[in-house]
């Protein structure tokens, strides 16, 4: 065990898989010589050579579509998008080919697409998005959103091992900010098992990614007001841990769903709708959603701050629920 940043955990996890399994290779823009825009694959090309760490042309469809072809031929490709925002350029491939190939034709597509996502640095409308909800709606794709260094590694290993296309969202705001102990050995963090980030009795917060920490800060504030908040970190959106969410909802009877993505049609709606359908009689209050508003991510700091859910927004939402 050693303390590692979230970024280091991803990097080390990926390297370990590549050392272990020759079928794993990395492809993306500037992942080779440069080590990737965020340096996740720094030094990889020296270690694994230019045919396992491939500097691709600026062609997201060729990159992800190429991964699909290679995967069908027995490889275990890991594509890197320079920013998660650019996955829009491979949307058609993922939705049309990768997501449906197993169901239609019996051909699994074991690929992983790494997606540095999220805001908080004035990245503006095209370097800050959280497009996980869009993919969570497409049957056949798995969607992973680790919040901790330990999960970042374990979920990446599981993603590579999974026989399906996996969208692996790594939140840029966690990259260097979040540090924790990460086991050295290989391990798999299972998909579809939420992590109880904080136990509590009064209100449940369901969230993932960077918002786990925002929720945690809010919970700390409310602790001083004698409110006990339970925080569930979903870890994976597809599959998502309905059971844990429903059980926690039944226990606390009040739920706040929190995400950094925009509100309308965000994955928070799915969670709220599921609770409203399946834990209805256990609820003691409306299901609250705290999310970004329905707009692009603005660049300028005061706007971006107003856009991304802040500790105060979550605390206010929790207080509202408490008072209900």
């Amino acid at each position: 065990m050693a303390e590692k940043t979230y970024l280091q955990a991803i990097s080390d996890g990926l390297r370990q898989e590549m050392q272990r399994d020759k079928r794993v290779f990395v492809i993306g823009e500037d992942v080779g010589v440069y080590g990737g825009a965020f340096k996740v694959t720094l030094g990889f090309q020296e270690e694994f050579g230019p045919w396992r760490v491939i500097d691709a042309p600026l062609s997201e469809t060729a990159i992800v579509g190429g991964c699909t072809g290679a995967a069908i031929m027995g490889m275990r490709p890991v594509a890197e998008m320079q920013f998660a925002d650019f996955i829009s350029c491979a949307w058609d491939h993922l939705v049309t080919v990768a997501a449906k190939q197993r169901y239609r034709a019996g051909t699994p597509v074991p690929i992983v697409v790494r997606l540095p996502s999220g805001g908080g640095f004035s990245g503006g409308p095209f370097h800050s998005q959280n497009p996980e909800s869009s993919f969570a709606h497409i049957p056949g794709l798995k969607v992973v959103c680790p919040a901790t260094p330990e999960d970042a590694k374990g979920l990446l290993v599981s993603a590579i091992e999974d026989p399906n296309p996996v969208l692996y969202f790594e939140h840029k705001h966690l990259y260097r900010r979040i540090k924790a102990e990460v086991p050295d050995e290989r391990y798999l963090t299972p998909f579809g098992k939420a992590r109880v980030h904080r136990e509590g009795d009064d209100i449940t917060v369901v969230t993932w990614g960077a918002m786990v920490y925002t929720a945690d800060e809010a919970a700390k504030q409310l602790e001083e007001e004698d409110l006990s908040i339970e925080i569930l970190d979903l870890r994976t959106l597809i599959p998502w841990d309905r059971k844990a969410v429903l059980e926690s909802a039944k226990k606390t009877s009040k739920v706040l769903v929190l995400h950094e993505d925009t509100r309308t049609g965000g994955f928070g709606a799915e969670i709220a709708a599921t609770i409203a359908e399946e834990a209805f009689e256990h609820l003691d209050g409306p299901i609250k959603r705290v999310t970004a508003p329905d707009s692009p991510v603005p660049f300028s700091p005061p706007l971006e701050k107003a856009y991304i859910p802040q500790i105060e927004d979550v605390a206010a939402g929790l207080r509202e629920l408490a008072e209900y």
């Binding site: 042309p57 469809t61 060729a62 290679a70 490889m75 058609d92 239609r104 051909t107 699994p108 026989p163």
Partner: protein, 348 residues
Amino acid sequence: MAIAREAEPVSSLREIREAGLDRDDLLLTYRHMLVTRGIEERGHILYKQGKIPGSFYTGRGNEASAVGVAMAMGPEDVGTPLHRDMGVHVTRGVEPWRIFAQYMGREDGPTKGRDGNVHMADSRLGLIAMVSHLPAMLPVAVGAALAFRIREEKRVAVGWFGEGASARGDAHEAMNLAGVRRLPTVFICDNNQWAYSTPMHLEYACETLADRAQAYGFEGVVVDGTDVLAVYREARRAIEKAREGGGPTLIESMTLRMEGHAVHDDASYVPKELFEEWAKRDPIERFRNWLRENAEFTDEEEEQLAGSVKKILNDALSRADESPLPSPDSLTEGVFATPEDLDTPHHK
């Protein structure tokens, strides 16, 4: 100022033998073409009988092109054939009864009723099932070639696209990546002059699509797609070149789509004279004549072949018709793959 090479017709039995086909292979090729056309003709009848749900597409006029390329592929090579390329499936060995089952949405079709028409492939035969979106399979073919390159296997991936689909970004990204990395890929452009109702000149403005190869740093060839032997020879050359590390080739195979876009379409927008002109170059007729002139193809041989093809198709039809419709209970099976699904020759 065309830059692609124009392929010559094949002149003699000797020439084609040098290219890799002996007389038995030639008869087999002819047979595949007959089976291909037979499947689609029977399919059309089934469709009119109301036995095929949805729409129905054929590749009439493209039999030589599809079979010619498939004959040139090695057993370990792979490909992503399209909706006019039934001949590829036939040549690679998919059983005709399974195709009829596919058409009819039955349990024993390669997609078990999940998809229709020629949206299918037997991955054990090295084929990857197409999607509707054109030409979305080209990046996949290139990715297969990338796997071969990474593992240093001497295998080749063949990717098909239509002249209409050449306009889409996927064609560009795929050919560009293949060119930059000199991946063992052969691109086959089935140029049948129409994309649904849209003529060539509204799809592209270069002289020949094969010229585009130059934009990606590899060789382009135009071949008469009604001449199965010329197609075979050019595909073979390109495939062996790719296998030996020579990089991709783009082969543009010229035909005419001899029917409507799908069965609902009477193709009235295609000038009659064009159909008449190309009817004279029917690929099956043409090859039969060649065989008669160059390979002493006899009446008996021909009769025997026709009879055996007929029997295969009849048997296939009955067998397919016995295949059950899929059970609604299976509706959501296999949306996600399981680890065991990876136990295929290719995924390992």
